[in-house]
């Protein structure tokens, strides 16, 4: 182990000791040592002047940072519902058995840790796992066996078979955004040819709206930001693609990074920003190196840096910040907090980031897809963009399709396409439901398949998961409610506590112990969360439960306990401590469920 003091000193001298840098330093330490040793926190405390407990607070907030050593090989199985449907848990258990290890705990020799993590954005090529930040998609028993072998032998990750790490773009259908390519620098050229007002007018005429799902008018956002007087303005790209079932940014960052950086530079030219940030989700760490190279190439071509494209005073550069396993950081104000090196707690709004964003300066935060669209709009014109889509939703939308269908992958559609069309195109048959916009989205039964993908109807950041008739939708509901429980930042009461209560009730239903009263309780908790939460996470977290209670009541009713009242806890499990103390495990030391049920039925009759 390299001396930690010299490692941290080097880190600090390379990138500075501003508090903004904290999360990035922690990432580097985690990556280097497989955890953040107390010694490291001590060193950061003294050199960055941040209290130790505050640093621990940041470490404990992010799922990818640890205070205790992980294995040399740190494996995280992606645990989205689509990974589940592809059998990820069987493979996880199989790997654990081969390695003789318990999930979540490092093996005694420190060689390996196996655990689960929220959706990694490889849903079209799942089941997938992350190993020390790299992705291995398309897992099967053969791959698992080979992985176990490589770990036992101790083969360094760099010597593993390269095909293991191949992630395909998997573009199944492309439209104007993916097809019509621009030459590097042409959007900047278009910006400089006239003035920034003309470029902004073009975006305004195109009616481009944010592609993250909320659909705020992009030109309006840029104009608000530009018109706010301040020392600095910032451009931030939200590449924290964490919504379960979404993976279009993975593809855009992999194959359209130049267009993205072009769009960010365009925005900088319009709002007057000197500095931009790409907030890259920790799960996409494996894309970092190529993105850095693209940035360097653009600097070398004078498309970033000082006097861009020869225009004196047009200075702009982009830095990449890594997230560390927190879905909430996809919320723009939480993302900004995280950019500032803090816990990703959403800010209160107003004020909005356009006036008070990064370092309290006016900041534009846009989705990857939005910046790419903007870059192309100023090259091809507003009419090119408006030629497809609907009046309220111009242009196209990238959908990330996964689940029960013959051809999962990326599909680009003009806005206004019907859900039915998408379902047919991806080769889905015998469909029970489609979940649009991820865990926070909408559950659609076939009766609603004529609805349109558009801001004015079914709005989505791009996630589109298909469930056929064989699936139990309650498994989906359970996966999502656990996801939200895990990802709630814990700031506000309804999301923090309500989300936990909800998760417990969904588990109760899955185990066949829920009553009608519990279903009413779920609805009540859902409304409290939806109406009173601090940010969008809490507002949308109960949606899968509320949607399915309304549209798929039978998934609950067929599992209801046949009684008016069921204890909230498992009576038999509650006796475990007593059994351990008395050293008994015979039949009479257990509550026998069936006789209880029978006697209850007799009471009723």
């Amino acid at each position: 182990m390299k001396n930690i003091e010299s490692f941290i000193t080097e880190q600090l001298s390379d990138t500075g000791n501003k508090p903004d840098r904290l999360l990035q330093h922690l990432w580097a330490i985690q990556h280097r040592y497989s955890y953040i040793p107390d010694k490291a926190v001590e060193l950061l405390t003294s050199s960055m002047h941040i209290p130790a407990m505050q640093i621990f607070g940041v470490i404990d907030f992010y799922a990818f940072l640890h205070r205790e050593a992980r294995g040399d090989f740190d494996i995280l199985f992606s645990d989205s519902i689509t990974d589940r449907m592809l059998g990820n848990l069987t493979l996880l258990n199989s790997l654990c058995k081969k390695l003789d290890i318990e999930p979540g705990k490092p093996r005694t020799d420190g060689r390996v840790t196996v655990d689960v993590t929220s959706c990694t954005g490889i849903c079209d090529q799942g089941p997938a796992l992350l190993i020390n930040g790299k992705v291995i998609p398309r897992l099967d028993e053969d791959r698992i066996a080979k992985i176990a072998e490589l770990i036992e032998v101790g083969t360094p990750l760099s010597d593993w078979p390269q095909p293991f790490f191949t992630v395909e773009d998997n573009i199944q259908r492309s439209g104007i955004l993916l097809n019509d390519s621009i030459i590097n620098g042409s959007a900047i050229e278009s910006l400089l040819k006239n003035d920034s007002d003309a470029a902004l007018m073009m975006i305004e005429k195109s009616c481009l709206r944010g592609r993250g799902g909320a659909g705020f008018n992009t030109s309006m956002k840029w104009r608000f930001c530009r018109d706010t007087k301040a020392e600095e303005h910032y451009v931030v790209c939200n590449a924290d693609e964490g919504e379960p079932g979404t993976f279009k940014d993975r593809v855009l960052l992999n194959s359209y990074a130049d267009n993205l950086f072009e769009g960010m530079t365009l925005c900088a030219g319009i709002i007057g920003a000197k500095k931009g940030y790409l907030y890259l989700r920790g799960e996409y760490f494996y894309l970092l190196e190529a993105l850095q190279q693209t940035l360097q190439r653009r600097r070398d071509s004078n498309l970033l840096g000082n006097d861009i494209a020869g225009r004196q005073g047009f200075d702009f550069d982009i830095e990449i910040h890594l997230g560390a396993g927190a879905y909430i950081c996809g919320e723009e104000s939480a993302l900004i907090e995280s950019l500032e090196g803090k816990r990703g707690i959403p800010r209160k709004r107003p004020p909005f980031p356009v006036t008070n964003g990064f370092r309290n300066q006016p900041t534009v935060v846009n989705n990857v897809e939005t910046f790419i669209a903007a870059a192309k709009i100023v090259v091809f014109g507003a009419d090119w963009f408006r030629s497809v889509g609907t009046d309220d939703s111009t242009g196209t939308k990238l959908l990330s399709i996964s689940g029960d269908c013959a051809r999962p992958g990326i599909y680009e559609y003009p806005f206004g396409v019907s859900v039915r069309q998408v379902v047919e195109d991806c080769g889905a048959e015998d469909v029970q439901a489609v979940q649009v916009a991820g865990a926070a989205g909408t559950t659609l039964p076939p009766q609603e398949f004529d609805r349109k993908i558009a801001f004015e109807d079914v709005s989505t950041g791009g996630s589109f998961m298909v469930f056929d008739q064989q699936r139990d939708l309650l498994d989906m509901v359970q996966n999502f409610s656990h996801f939200f429980y895990h990802e709630s930042c814990g700031f506000c009461t309804p999301c923090r506590v309500g989300g936990a209560l909800m998760k417990n009730l969904v588990d109760k239903a899955i185990h066949g112990h829920a009553t009608r009263g519990d279903l009413m309780e779920m609805e009540n908790i859902g409304l409290v969360m939806q109406q009173n939460s601090h940010c969008g996470l809490g507002v949308t977290a109960p949606k899968p439960v509320l949607d399915t209670l309304e549209k798929f009541p039978e998934i609950y009713s067929k599992r209801l306990a046949n009684r008016g009242f069921e204890p909230a806890f498992d009576l038999d499990a509650a006796l475990e401590e007593s059994r351990q103390i008395t050293g008994r495990d015979d039949l009479e030391a257990h509550i026998q469920y069936e006789p209880l049920l029978n006697s209850a039925k007799q009471d009723e009759s």
Partner: protein
């Protein structure tokens, strides 16, 4: 002091100034909006959500909602009261709040707001979390069982006492208050009994020692009058009264 702008709180005209939140203006006008994490001496936080009010059918936390001219604010309909009750019940089951055995009983804001909203039971399933008590400090004790994560001590210690004694760690339901000291306990922290961070706690989490039952049950802050009249535990008036006793 008014610039002629008003909004309606349950039909009553409330004057406000630019930059006021609904809570600011209401409190100034002597109107009570139930709250826990809000304290007018500090920047609004908006985390407990108990101060939610209805505007055009949507709910906002009054402490973070900017007042606008002619807006109509619902502060007492059964819908709003019911939501507040649910939020309070969630806070009760999240921690271990055993009023009969708590030395803050009768002068606790969580308890008083629960009475005000006519909460009759915690309703939800208790989490019964395993939390600790830190009595290592000579003058102050912390019972983490009763912390409601309002972060008033965090803010007071950072912004007023300039000591940064407290912070929050963890995420989601695992979020919890921690002490910035070498041992992680109170005795070697910089906290002292006269700190703002101590007096600002609305519940029985941070307790000054040696005075627990000086004020007998029956004569405590909320024993005879509701919180809507008495105001916050940490309000200036109530602090002065305490000093006189």
């Amino acid at each position: 002091m008014s610039n002629g702008k008003t909004f309606k709180l349950d039909g009553k005209n409330i004057a406000f100034q630019d930059g006021d939140t609904v809570m600011d203006a209401a409190l100034r006008a002597g109107e009570y909006i139930p709250h826990l994490c809000h304290n007018p001496e500090f920047t609004p936080h908006g985390s407990c959500r108990v101060c939610i009010v209805g505007v055009n059918g949507r709910h906002f936390s009054a402490c973070t909602l900017p007042a606008t001219d002619n807006m109509e604010v619902d502060n007492s309909s059964e819908t709003i009261m019911d939501q507040r009750r649910n939020l309070l019940q969630m806070l009760f089951v999240e921690g271990n709040h055993v009023c009969p055995g708590c030395e803050k009983s009768g002068a606790c804001q969580l308890q008083a707001v629960a009475y005000y909203t006519r909460m009759l039971s915690p309703h939800y399933t208790h989490f019964f979390p395993k939390r600790t008590v830190d009595a290592s400090h000579r003058d102050i004790a912390i019972d983490f069982n009763r912390c409601i994560l309002c972060e008033l001590c965090v803010r007071a210690s950072r912004d007023v006492d300039n000591k940064n004694v407290f912070s929050i760690t963890g995420r989601g339901l695992k979020s919890h208050l921690v002490i910035n000291s070498a041992s992680g306990r109170l005795y070697d922290s910089e906290l002292s009994a006269t700190d703002k961070a101590v007096s600002v706690c609305p519940v029985g989490a941070i307790l000054p020692k040696h005075i627990g039952y000086d004020q007998p049950i029956g004569e405590r802050l909320y024993d005879n009058k509701p919180i809507s009249i008495v105001g916050d535990v940490a309000s200036e008036a109530n602090r002065e009264n305490k000093d006189q006793n």
